[in-house]
């Protein structure tokens, strides 16, 4: 077998290389035609060639003294013919994860910025003067006590934003992972209540009342997946539920799977019949949400359905007829249904 050193640069980045760093200078000085020379670095005869390719260059080198000029030329041609396909594969592999990381970075950064902004309205480091340093805790306590309502709201908002930021990581990891769901029995009422709590303040702010029914049954779910799904659901509810309205949550036996239905009825932005299926597609938002400029990245419904499916459940929507225009927005009485397997 003939040993080769290769180095391929595309867009200024090495995409394929096994070239030792001590030979980098030799590569830089290599002309386009094949050279058969004594290598000043290794003191051995070598053949090497460097050729410009689209957005970069390809370099091949061998110290094998059995390698003829024609065979080296042939190998270089084969090498060149593989680079295009390889570069494309690298691009395909890198691009989606790069986009996903960027989206994650943006979303988490956004939540952290809001938290910082919220806290700064209460207490900012710039407000603490040098003379207050020795009494920094009592200084902060006084600030908080004199703005106790703002402080309470800040804490409630922060708890929600932290939950959202963490769920961004969860979504990034869980959605892209191939792990099996960890199904354990959980009290469905408790799961719903815990998932709802971070969003209660925002709903209260919009004067949306939540009526949570009773249920003592356990369902078999992957808690992380379902908590993530519900977090996205309530985040949407905060944006899309009509202010001054009610959200009614009830529990009943499920006919579609041997389990429990969690039925959530609310007056929220209308969903067109043509959008009933498409709103579950990654990146697609409802047209009313877009019109109201409340749409996000179109990931909420996609995450909800994916997580519920992975956990062995179902998520369905019964869309209501648009019946009201409030502030130019079209609302409907929509029913959202989570169906979870029941513990046997």
């Amino acid at each position: 077998m003939i040993d080769f050193f290769y180095h391929v640069i595309i867009d200024g980045q090495p995409v394929l290389s096994n070239l030792p760093t001590d030979l980098f200078e030799e590569m830089s000085n290599c002309p386009a035609e094949t050279q058969y020379i004594m290598c000043p670095v290794r003191g051995q005869i070598k053949r090497h060639k460097k050729l410009p390719i689209k957005d970069g260059f390809a370099y091949l080198c061998s110290y094998d003294n059995q390698l003829t000029k024609n065979n080296f030329k042939l190998c270089f041609d084969v090498f060149l013919s593989l680079i295009g396909g390889f570069a494309e594969s690298v691009k395909r592999a890198i691009q989606p994860s790069f986009v996903r990381v960027n989206a994650l970075r943006h979303n988490v950064y956004d939540q952290l910025s809001h938290i910082q902004d919220d806290f700064k309205s209460l207490l900012s480091f710039e407000d603490i003067s040098l003379k207050d340093w020795p009494e920094i805790v009592s200084f902060s306590t006084n600030r908080i006590l004199s703005n106790s309502e703002v402080a309470s709201k800040t804490i409630l908002r922060t708890l929600k934003r932290v939950a959202i930021a963490l769920s961004e990581f969860d979504a990034y990891e869980i959605i892209n992972s191939t792990r099996d769901a960890d199904l354990y029995p959980h009290l469905v009422h408790k799961v719903i209540k815990l998932s709802l709590q971070p969003y209660i303040f925002d709903l209260w702010n919009n004067n949306v009342r939540v009526n949570l029914g009773e249920c003592y049954d356990k369902v078999l779910i992957d808690y992380e997946l379902i908590n993530l799904a519900l977090g996205h659901f309530w985040n949407n509810a905060v944006k899309y539920a009509k202010p001054n309205s009610d959200i009614n949550i009830s529990f009943s036996p499920s006919a579609s799977i041997k389990g429990i239905n969690v039925t959530i009825n609310m007056i929220s932005l209308a969903i067109l019949p043509s959008e009933k299926d498409t709103i579950f597609i990654k990146g697609i938002s409802g047209s009313e949400a877009k019109k109201a400029k409340l749409d996000g990245h179109g990931m909420g419904m996609y995450y909800i359905q994916e997580c519920v499916k992975k956990s062995g459940g179902l998520f369905t929507i019964d869309i209501g007829s648009p019946f009201k225009k409030s502030g130019g927005k079209s609302f409907a009485s929509n029913t959202f249904r989570f169906s979870f397997l029941k513990e046997i």
Partner: protein
């Protein structure tokens, strides 16, 4: 009167009883408020925490039934280069009956899917998991260790996986009741009751079950 009076049926242990008896140890080099919350708000009475383990015969470790450990920043005192994962491996090798919950800031605590410690933990959690998630896993493992029904389900899984033996839950429960009534949990008695050549990990599981 006989000194060897037969014991009654295996007790039906409630969650309240488990909370009063099960010993939980947290190993974490950082302050973790959740530990005190589990004690004060959820009522797990025998809950202690240490920043690391300096010896595998450390009393807190010896006594614990359930061990919750971070996998970063611990295991250093015993010189494990793979920190908490190395510690988990060592704890499992010394005390195979102890239940282990591993948690970390990483996804599912799956830092290294190929590390043997992966196979020794009974539950994995994110450090950011809420109190309910820790509580439900602790409850589940406490029941698996000390309640007849949950323990029998676990033993059925082990018999099937490790020994290729298919036994019904009822048969397993009857076997445990027999061992319990005689106060025996040695390998020989277990093999006899379950018709096995090798008790495997069953000895430590049944011994723990009837020890409470």
């Amino acid at each position: 009167m006989s000194l060897f009076k037969k014991r009654a049926h295996f007790p039906n242990r409630t969650m309240e009883q488990l909370k009063s008896s099960v010993i939980i140890l947290f190993i974490d080099n950082e302050d973790f408020n959740l530990i005190s919350e589990l004690k004060e708000k959820e009522g797990w009475r025998h809950l202690t925490s240490v920043s690391d383990i300096s010896s595998l015969s450390q009393p807190e470790l010896v006594d614990a039934h359930i061990i919750c450990t971070d996998i970063q920043g611990v295991g250093k005192e015993l010189g494990f280069t793979d920190e908490g994962l190395g510690l988990i491996e060592a704890i499992h090798s010394h005390y195979p009956e102890k239940k282990i919950i591993m948690y970390s800031s990483e996804a599912q605590g799956r830092i290294d899917a190929f590390h043997p410690a992966e196979g020794y933990v009974n539950a994995r959690l994110r450090k950011s998991a809420n109190r309910y998630q820790f509580e439900t896993q602790i409850e589940r493992l406490a029941q698996e260790a000390f309640c007849l029904d949950a323990c029998a389900i676990n033993i059925q899984r082990i018999l099937n996986r490790e020994l290729g033996t298919d036994m019904s839950i009822e048969e397993i429960k009857k076997g445990i009741e027999r061992l319990y009534s005689k106060g025996k949990a040695d390998s020989r008695s277990i093999c006899k009751v379950f018709g096995l050549n090798n008790a495997g990990s069953l000895a430590s599981i049944i011994s723990l079950l009837i020890s409470l």
